[in-house]
Amino acid sequence: MTWRVRVELKKAFLDHRGEALKREAHHFGLTGVRALRTGAVYELEGTLDQTQALSIAGRLLADPITQEFSVAPPPKKDDFSGGRRAVVWLKKGVADPVADTVFLASKDLSVQGLESVRSGHVFDFLGTLSGPDVRRFCEEHLMNSLIQTVDVC
């Protein structure tokens, strides 16, 4: 079973990185971006049930004061209303020290059944935007195509 955990700032907190990226997006020509929200995304794979995945997310991956999280099976196809969502992952075989640390830390939390972890970044572009434009922006500003891939929906 695979669980996807998404962690982002609570709406009450200013997303500084998102604000900076919004300015960069405008400079790049994506003038249709009204807002840009950033977050972290993890895929937890193994014989975990939802309670265990929630435990890892709540106790390990999210700061309870400033962040909120969601846990769900990965969607067959990413869907995002209100704009475009870009999810950046490391390519297979590229070292993922964040994932390694999550894996070790989950053991310290005595969570059983976790077999592998993947970490990535999620960017929500709010506004009217074309997928190819967002992909181009991601490739130039948010990722390194040599070691990362991006899914835009």
Partner: protein
């Protein structure tokens, strides 16, 4: 072309052309002669090599590991300014220049030079200092964060693998980037914008160094158009090691123990990839991503194991992975390796990949069998992966996986079989151009503009991201003065909390000078590194230096000619100064080849000199900020008409003028006398004159201290030609070597002048309370800057 997954079966019948094609196809980076040598060797053995054997030879014989260019026999031809031709033969470029200095000087305090992972020098009190500077250029061009981070992680492991392991106490970092004002369409060789490379590299060094708990204390950042495709990333580490841990050995029967990170597919072919020009279509497997937390645990365990005497040999797993580390350690004993015992990150990795992977945070130890149980328990208690992967024995390198032989190589052939290269180099001086006239310029505006050039401007944005205080040793910090804004000349580290002894670190770098003459570029950066040490009061009889050469494709004679000129200068000046080289490294093929556009661009020949010395009492360290109104300001050394390569020349968009030269018979006695004056507490503050000349030096001293200065340039000792010209701009911005501005308290002026003896010096002004820098030019006109506008320009110049 070749059949078989394990054995290159038709290898013995391939033509030279086919061998070269094979080398290219497999990413071996070996030339036809080297491939033919391997073919001949295996013909004698009456068998074909396995792929793993070819890969092992390629790693061990790579430019990255063997320094084939610097170890080559070179026939050098150059023309002088008058068109006369001079020839010179080097049997071994490195031995005939850099190594010869150290061998000639025979300093007893050099404990280990050019043979270990770092140079080791005596520091007194039964302690020694291990120092190493590495480059990680190609990886950083492709993946700046991972490349720079693992560059630092790698040099930290070099220090952990020096002797039986030194405790890292400081990091240094020096970067060369393309300009930051590029348009969106101008990209680095990897397709990333320079801005992203800058952010990635700085973050990579920050995250690795800070998380390891090692302060980053010294460095430089340089911007130039020719580094756009090939940024340079130099990372250095200084370590403290007890004398008794300097020597190490490997004995037959010792266990081969792998310690630290697990092996994945990351970094495969890193060494061979670094030995070729950067181009498009690089696979992601060459990229390494570091994990400093794993290395921190590895470091903690190693230092405990060292003190308990649990191993007697150690090296780091860097370029070439296990193939290089085990091959190197087992050179005299042989090694028998069982790859199935290596800890893996995930399953499905081919045996040859395990053997070559450059997965980070790993060390290899030679452990007496009786000590293995204790080492295992220690590692397990600290959650550090450890495994016995074989035994040092048998005289040959034997590698197997689940009983299947992968590699059986003669150690002599592996280490000494690479054919020595014979290369040609040429050099001619560029046609001399005149430096533009002063007409229509404004000294007032120009000083502000020079201060704002990114290479001169404050590197606060970079430096403040680094923890330079952790471990509590940093006495001389990157920024000094009451407000912490003055750029210090060198870092001063207290080696032990209860003793005053300190280590001092500094560097010199100026690749722009290479466009005039790489010889004087090298002489100037060596002098700059030394001046920086002298400026803070370091002992000048205990200076040791490290060289890091970076250049383009050395198979082009004109590129090699530049490297030869620079190496010769290192020899000449270091010998004249009496400074031993204790370690060094080269990184060549820093050239970007665009196969679509059919263009290539090379970096200018670049030399980083890192310098290390001691300071008997860190409380006596001299800083560069002005201290007290009423104090006198002296300039030491002669200012000459040497505007070539200057920051002012860049401002004027000029490639004219003469590059700064150096006369060691004038500069070295000056340094000795200045050091004596400091030792007598006659110097209140001191700052060397380098990028931007006296103008920048005075400005930095003013805002560093929060005081002003009143200076008469008419009092500056000038060369005869410059005295005739009477150009204020040249006197203010000339970058002549061997100069300092020194603040002296009035009661000590006479004694200061007496101690400086015959050296060229002059009192040029004094410190004033009012925060204004007033300069009277050679034309008698007064130019005034407020200290705040100088500071604003300098602090606002670097906009990342």
């Amino acid at each position: 072309m070749l059949i078989g997954s394990e054995t290159a079966e038709r290898f013995s019948s391939l033509s030279a052309m086919e061998l070269t094609a094979l080398s290219r196809e497999r990413g071996l980076s070996l030339n036809a002669e080297e491939m033919t040598t391997i073919q001949t060797h295996f013909k004698k053995l009456k068998r074909s090599p396995t792929w793993a054997e070819l890969e092992t030879l390629a790693q061990t014989w790579s430019e990255h590991c063997k320094h084939k260019t610097f170890r080559a026999a070179v026939h050098h031809v150059e023309r002088d300014d008058h068109g006369r031709v001079h020839e010179r033969y080097y049997k071994d470029l490195l031995k005939d220049t850099i190594v010869r200095v150290t061998e000639t000087l025979k300093k007893s305090w050099c404990l280990s030079v050019f043979k270990d992972n770092a140079g080791i020098v005596d520091a007194g009190d039964g302690q020694a200092l291990a120092f190493k500077v590495e480059t990680h250029n190609h990886p950083s061009a492709l993946e700046p964060y991972g490349g720079a981070g693992t560059g630092l992680g790698g040099v930290i492991r070099d220090i952990l693998g020096a002797g039986l392991g030194a405790k890292p106490i400081a990091n240094t970092d020096v970067f060369c980037f393309g300009p930051l004002d590029e348009t969106a369409s101008e990209k680095t060789g990897s397709g990333l914008s320079t801005r992203r490379v800058v952010h990635g590299v700085v973050s990579g060094v920050r995250d690795y160094g800070n998380r390891m708990g090692i302060p980053t204390v010294n460095g430089a950042v340089y911007f130039d158009e020719d580094f756009r495709e090939n940024p340079l990333v130099f990372c250095g580490t200084l370590g403290l090691i007890p004398h008794k841990a300097v020597a190490k050995e490997v004995r037959s029967g010792d266990l081969i123990v792998s310690l630290g990170g697990r092996v994945g597919r990351d970094g495969i072919h890193g060494a061979t990839f670094s030995s070729d020009a950067l181009t498009t279509g690089i696979p992601s497997s060459v990229v390494q991503i570091g994990n400093p937390i794993v290395e921190k645990k590895l470091m903690d365990v190693l230092l405990v194991a060292r003190d308990r005497g649990l191993y007697r040999g150690i090296t780091d797993c860097g370029a070439g992975g296990l193939s290089s580390a085990v091959g190197e350690m087992g050179e005299t004993t042989g090694a028998d390796v069982h790859l199935e015992s290596v800890s893996l990150k995930y399953q499905g990795i081919a045996p040859w990949e395990i053997w070559l992977s450059e997965s980070q945070e790993r060390m290899v130890l030679a452990v007496p069998p009786s000590h293995w149980p204790e080492l295992k328990i220690l590692c397990e208690s600290e959650d550090v992966d450890v495994a016995v992967i074989g035994t040092f024995r048998g005289g040959r390198l034997r590698v197997s996986h689940t009983g299947r032989a992968l590699v059986t190589l003669d150690m002599g052939f592996l280490h000494d079989g690479v054919p020595k290269r014979t290369m040609k180099s040429v050099w001619s001086p560029p046609a001399r151009k005149e430096f533009p006239s002063q007409k229509g310029t404004s000294v007032k505006k120009d000083l502000l503009a020079v201060l704002a050039q990114p290479s001169v401007a404050s590197k606060e944005w970079v430096v403040r991201q680094y923890d330079h205080e952790v471990q509590g040793r940093t006495v001389g910090k990157p920024f000094v003065g009451p407000r912490g804004v003055g750029p210090s000349d060198a870092a001063v580290l207290q080696l032990h909390p209860s003793r005053p002894l300190g280590a001092v670190l500094a560097c010199g770098l100026n690749p722009h000078y290479s466009r005039w003459d790489p010889y004087w570029m090298a002489a100037s950066v060596l002098d700059e590194a030394v001046r920086n040490l002298v400026a803070v009061g370091a002992r000048i009889d205990r200076i040791s230096i490290l060289d890091n050469f970076c250049g383009g494709n050395p198979t082009r004679p004109e590129i090699l000619g530049e490297l030869v000129r620079a190496s010769q200068a290192c020899h000449d000046i270091a010998l004249a100064y009496g400074l031993p080289f204790v370690s060094g490294k080269d990184s060549l093929f820093n050239e970007f080849v665009d196969p679509k556009a059919k263009t290539r661009r090379s970096i200018p020949t670049t030399l980083l000199i890192s310098a290390l010395s001691l300071l008997p009492d860190v409380s006596k360290a001299v800083t560069m900020n002005l201290k007290k109104p009423g104090n006198s300001l002296f300039i030491l050394g002669e200012t000459r008409d040497e505007m070539g390569g200057s920051r002012y020349g860049i401002l004027r968009n000029s490639l004219g003028g003469d590059v700064p030269r150096l006369n060691p018979t004038e500069t070295w006695p000056l340094y000795e006398r200045l050091h004596r004056a400091m030792h007598k507490d006659l110097v209140v503050s001191c700052h060397d004159c380098s990028d931007g000349g006296v103008g920048v030096t005075l400005a930095e001293m003013c805002f560093g201290g929060g005081f002003g200065a009143r200076v008469d340039l008419g009092q500056v000792p000038l060369s005869a030609d410059l005295a005739k010209e009477k150009r204020t701009d040249k006197v203010l911005f000339s970058e002549s070597n061997g100069r300092f501005v020194v603040e002296v308290s009035p009661p000590f002026k006479r004694e200061f002048v007496r101690v400086l003896g015959k050296s060229v010096l002059s009192e040029i002004g004094r410190v004033v309370e009012s925060p204004r820098l007033e300069v009277v030019g050679l034309d008698g006109k007064r130019v005034v800057w407020s200290v705040s506008e100088l500071e604003k320009s300098w602090r606002g110049g670097l906009k990342p």
